[in-house]
């Protein structure tokens, strides 16, 4: 799998790179009829979400995705998945760990979120409530290493002309 676009996490006024997909369980268990479509090999999940931690709670505050309705591709936002909640939803369905890498690149892996960076901040979340935060320093990168989350390349999908 190609390295994937990250999600975003707003925490203490800063936007962090989020290499976890807290929306995954919701899409699997909510009986939502919305089906996201991949537009390129670097975004197999078909959407990018912006999350926020406010008062130790995890919220999904923005969503930009691609769906196919009646054979037509269209972009959708948070309102399409959560009608009546355009400003954000409490992610009570999520239990697990969020990983936010930061700093310079240590080792690039062209697959999933496998690349490693100088630091990782982890948030342990239970039913949407943040229980713990910890930062792990992995190593020091070379002086010429690229800063921040990096993708080496991808293939975008064109719509078939044959159908």
């Amino acid at each position: 799998m190609t390295a994937q676009f990250s999600e975003h996490l707003i925490y203490q006024g800063k936007e962090l790179t989020l290499c976890s997909q807290p929306l995954g369980p919701f899409l699997q268990f909510s009986a939502s009829t919305l089906k996201f479509e991949a537009t390129c090999t670097a975004l197999w999940r078909g959407y990018v979400g912006t999350w926020a931690i406010e008062n130790d709670r995890l919220y999904l505050v923005k969503l930009s995705g691609n769906v196919v309705t009646d054979g037509q591709e269209q972009e959708v936002n948070l309102e399409a998945l959560f009608p009546g909640y355009p400003d954000g939803v409490f992610a009570h369905w999520f239990t697990g760990e969020l990983r936010c890498p930061s700093g310079a690149l240590l080792n690039y892996v062209h697959g999933g979120y496998e690349s490693t960076y100088e630091m990782d901040t982890f948030f342990r979340v239970q039913r949407g409530v943040v229980l713990e935060e910890r930062t792990v320093v992995n190593d020091q990168a070379k002086p010429d290493a690229p800063q921040d989350y990096t993708l080496a390349g991808m293939t975008t999908f064109g719509k078939s002309q044959e159908d």
Partner: protein, 185 residues
């Protein structure tokens, strides 16, 4: 006369090939059944097939249709390959589906619950009002989908798969028929 005899023997040859063809299909079906593809694999394949163009679909169909007469023509070769495949198909190939570890089984069923009791335990409160006041909140549709699927003889169980997930399941004759997951580790 010779042509007739050759035609006769060719017919016999093809007739013997027919059980080989059936055996090949059977073996394929058994393997698929015993070694089910993971959920992710099935989802990817279904997604890829849904995006296939008409030409690709027809080409695949034509290949499948043409394959059977070809197998019938060269069935002794296919039979040898089949025997070798069965003999050397090591136990390593019979790996269990890794996703099966996350399936809800009988031993994960904790207690029978009434829907009302399950709903009473499923309150989600958010001080910012970003969660609907419904059982299981944003997952309410999934819960209702489970209840709507109830059949005569079903019982509703609370289940826990350690290290994996928690939820409710419809159980019929000691078999988990359908699940609703509200927490995934």
């Amino acid at each position: 006369m010779l042509a007739n005899q050759m035609l006769y023997w060719f017919g016999i040859y093809l007739a013997i090939g027919l059980p080989v063809l059936v055996l090949l299909r059977l073996l394929g079906a058994i393997r698929t059944k015993l070694q089910p593809a993971g959920e992710m694999y099935r989802a990817i394949m279904a997604d890829l097939r849904s995006k296939e163009s008409r030409r690709v679909r027809w080409t695949r169909f034509a290949k499948e249709v043409l394959m059977y007469p070809l197998i019938l023509l060269i069935w002794p070769v296919v039979l040898v390959i089949l025997i070798l495949d069965i003999c050397f198909w090591s136990k390593d190939h019979w790996k269990p589906d890794p996703e099966a570890a996350f399936n809800c089984r009988r031993q994960h069923l904790v207690r029978v619950v009434a829907p009302e009791a399950a709903e009473a335990e499923a309150k989600v409160v958010d001080p910012l009002g970003r969660a609907p006041d419904l059982p299981f909140s944003h997952l309410n549709a999934g819960w209702h989908a489970l209840l709507a699927d109830r059949q005569i003889g079903d019982s509703l169980w609370y289940f826990e798969v350690p290290g994996a997930k928690r939820g409710y399941a419809l159980v019929q004759s000691s078999k988990v028929r359908k699940e609703f997951v509200f927490e995934w580790d």
